[in-house]
């Protein structure tokens, strides 16, 4: 009796469903995970365009395909084919691709196909052809010469480097106005657009000046010098600024890394090595800082620096990846920590002023960027303490959500962008809540976002999230996944 009832129920569901499917000419297929019976190929990508942007690069772009399959698993990516080859040269999830490493002055033909979640591939698009730019018969232009300024006494090695706008071979010497062919030294890494040479045997109290000339692959050489000049201090330097002012320099034999830069006057500077806090110092009244780190071995390291301003507001992390050689002191200069930024209101009544404030280098120019339907960019000058204050006329903005960012410029140096702050233009004013306990990602409430908090996330990763679990689901989508780890990494303090 039970079996008969089950059969009747199944028939009652399947018969109308199949009639419905037939009326729309659909094919019903039973699913099994990703192998879900979607056998329909996506539509062919359209409007494929190719643009030669250099002697070795062509940029492609196209319009999106759609996946009409059932169930529609969505477009997973696009395959790029070159010169009629049956094998793709690349896959991408986006709607553009830069094909690099091409020969100059050569005609290339491309097609693109789309594939969906069931790996059904569309037909290839109409082909487009373009020719890479021919190698110019002009001399290279040199830029970004390094190093500059003055190294600490005891520095014995540095890397001479510069860039050229086109592929070239670069040479250098110590006598000005020497023709390219007569220059005595060739960079050890050269031939492309980045050129470098390790210089060793540097001595204290000496200023070094090198004259560089480069020659293109078509044998056109620069006719004037590109000068790179730097010095090594004659006396041991001291850590500048308040807290570090009385600190003697570490013996140079122990020093592996020296990080120099500018932040905010009197600010606390924290140095992270591979994500973990290893040193801190205080910037001087001119915002300059220097951190020396000893006992670091050889290898590739990711360092980050962040600062806290006089109001206790943190900067974003300023990361850099360097390869260190044991026994060699590596100087990382030119670190320009982005300004701190804060708002007085989280929601501002349209027409009322919104104050945006923060701290940076004394007398710097701060550029403010308000991301809106119409982007607003404006500037304000920092005072002698590096403090800046800007009032935004919110009549310029529509109702809704907006974001603000800042960057600072001093002389020829420009910082990276500050952290992004969100605010809303509405009908009432709501002040920003003071940050009391709320460091995002600080699950153990120790005012740091660090390894312990990462361990707490790992503990909960792939475990069901209990309602009483720590707030590891940072984007509040009901699960702990890579997005939460990414938000966590953004807020890392070490």
């Amino acid at each position: 009796m039970k079996k008969l009832a089950s059969l009747i129920i199944i028939a009652a569901v399947l018969i109308p469903l199949s009639l419905y499917a037939n009326s729309f000419n659909l094919t019903l297929t039973f699913c099994n995970g990703l192998d879900c019976g979607d056998v329909t190929a996506p539509s062919t990508p359209t409007n494929l365009e190719a643009e030669a942007v250099s002697t070795s690069q062509i940029n492609l772009s196209w319009d999106a395909s759609i996946d009409p399959g059932f169930p529609a698993l969505g477009i997973l990516g696009y395959k790029i084919y070159r010169n009629g080859g049956g094998t793709e040269v690349a896959t991408t999830t986006g709607l553009s691709y830069s094909d690099t490493g091409l020969a100059d002055g050569t005609l290339y033909t491309y097609t693109v196909s789309a594939f969906d979640g069931a790996y059904n591939e569309s037909a290839q698009s109409s082909s487009v052809s373009t020719t890479t730019l021919s190698v110019p018969s002009v001399a290279p232009n040199a830029s970004n010469g390094s190093p500059s300024g003055t190294f600490a006494a005891g520095t014995t090695e540095t890397t001479l480097s510069l860039a050229t706008d086109i592929a070239a071979t670069c040479k250098y010497g110590t006598v000005a106005d020497t023709a390219y062919a007569a220059l005595p030294n060739t960079f050890s890494t050269t031939g492309g657009t980045a050129h470098s040479k390790l210089l060793s045997g540097l001595a204290n109290g000496v200023t070094y000046t090198y004259y560089v000339r480069c020659q293109s692959t078509t044998n056109v050489a620069m006719t004037s010098d590109y000068t790179i000049s730097f010095a090594v201090a004659s006396a041991p330097v001291r850590v500048p600024g308040g807290g570090g002012g009385d600190k003697d320099e570490l013996p140079l034999s122990q020093v592996n890394v020296i990080v120099r830069g500018i932040a905010y006057p009197g600010s606390t500077i924290n140095l992270l090595k591979d994500g973990l806090a290893v040193a801190s110092t205080q910037a001087g009244p001119d915002a300059n800082f220097e951190i020396q780190l000893s006992g670091v071995g050889s290898g590739t390291f990711t360092f980050s620096v962040w600062a806290m301003d006089s109001q206790g507001v943190r900067s974003t992390l300023y990361p850099f990846t360097v390869t260190l050689t044991s026994g060699v002191t590596t100087v990382i200069g030119g670190v320009f920590i982005p300004p701190t930024v804060s708002l007085d209101l989280s929601t501002v009544k349209r027409g009322d002023p919104l104050r945006v404030l923060g701290q940076t280098v004394p007398n710097a120019t701060v550029s403010l960027i308000f991301h809106s339907d119409t982007e607003i960019i404006d500037q304000v000058a920092a005072d002698a303490r590096g403090v800046w204050n800007y009032v935004l006329d919110t009549l310029k903005l529509e109702y809704g959500d907006h974001t603000a960012q800042a960057r600072a410029a001093k002389a020829t140096d420009i910082s990276t962008l500050s952290k992004t702050l969100s605010f809303k233009v509405g009908t009432v004013n709501i002040p920003v809540k003071k940050e009391t306990s709320a460091l995002i990602g600080d699950y153990n409430a120790d005012k740091k976002v660090d390894l312990v908090d990462f361990s707490i996330m790992l503990y909960w990763y792939k475990r069901p999230l209990a309602t009483t679990a720590p707030p590891v689901d940072l984007n509040r989508d009901g699960k702990l996944d890579l997005v939460d780890f990414s938000i966590f990494a953004y807020h890392w303090t070490g």
Binding site: V89, T93, L276, P319, A445, F485
Partner: protein, 306 residues
């Protein structure tokens, strides 16, 4: 209907003005079968990215013998590299502060070719990269497949670069891992959970092979190999829940690289045992007890004689 689908697709598919490039960096594109060879996996990104999950389709004719994180830009691993049931190499991790640059190393694979022909490694489209921003925006990925030609008679470049350097010094931390058994929100006091030791070490040579943890009431110099060997080591992953939840033990964490070089860090007990609960304390108490008993017995004997 199609117009609606097209609109949804345009809205959902991010425009790849900026992208991260995952590349393979083989020693050679024609390899032999007699010995393993190396293939690096690198990333280029013109925008800071902080979270990477790589899924690499491994061809049938190849076997991944090892995946080394030596010199990797990934500082903290969510999933250390492993091969799944679908013959895919999977790994994920984060770079606090983000990585922006050219040819940042993710992994170095040691691969053994099993048969001749052409083998293709592909970065599977299920790989994910997220930007270093507050909303974890996905970063489009561009990849090029790697085609390797396997020729039986060819000799591979020798990979025997000795790594004699210890893993870098590291700082384990003992902290409470909230287990959700009570209100453990960051804004309230933490009342419940397990005490665990968290650790991460870097090895710039061969890469980290694994970790082990030992707990002991004894304070041992990590350089004393004989005593270190006597400790009761357990293979561990961070976070490692401590057996001694009273935190009265010394905690030793051992990082081992793939050449067998070992770095040991020691943490002092957070709640040292009072002197009378140490071995010396027990002996002293026993001795005092014996002396008192002996004195009592002597006095009793004297009074009996009287």
């Amino acid at each position: 209907m199609h117009k609606l689908l097209l609109l949804i697709t345009i809205l959902l598919v991010p425009h790849a003005a900026f992208a991260a490039v995952i590349s393979f960096d083989p020693q050679e594109t024609t390899v032999g079968m007699s010995t393993p060879f190396l293939v690096g996996i690198t990333i280029d990104s013109d925008t800071p990215v902080n979270t990477i999950r790589g899924v690499i389709d491994v061809p049938e004719s190849m076997e991944v013998v090892d995946a080394s994180d030596g010199n990797s830009i990934i500082n903290l691993w969510i999933e250390r590299p492993y091969i799944n049931d679908a013959r895919q190499l999977v790994f994920s991790g984060i770079v606090p502060g983000g990585f922006e640059g050219y040819r940042g190393k993710l992994l170095t694979l040691t691969i053994q070719a099993k048969r001749e022909g052409v083998a293709r490694f592909i970065v599977n489209p299920s790989s994910r990269i997220y930007k270093n921003d507050e909303s974890a925006s996905p970063q489009p990925i561009i990849s090029r497949p790697l085609d390797l030609r396997v020729s039986a008679g060819r000799d591979n470049i020798s990979n025997e670069i000795p790594d004699t350097a210890l893993p870098e010094r590291f700082m384990p931390v003992v902290a409470l891992i909230p287990d959700g058994s009570s209100d453990t929100q960051a804004t309230s006091s933490i009342e419940s959970g397990h005490w665990a030791v968290s650790f991460v070490a870097q090895d710039k040579g061969s890469g980290i092979a694994g970790y082990a943890v030992a707990e002991s009431f004894s304070r041992i110099d990590p350089a004393d190999e004989r005593k270190v060997r006597r400790l009761s080591w357990r293979d561990a992953e961070s976070p490692y829940v401590l057996a001694d939840q009273r935190l009265s033990s010394y905690v030793y964490v051992k990082a081992i690289d793939k050449e067998g070089n070992v770095r040991i860090e020691r943490l002092d007990p957070q709640q040292p045992r009072p002197w009378y609960r140490t071995a010396l304390g027990y002996i002293l108490i026993a001795l005092i007890a014996l002396i008192i008993l002996n004195a009592l017995r002597t006095r009793i004997n004297i009074s009996r004689r009287k």
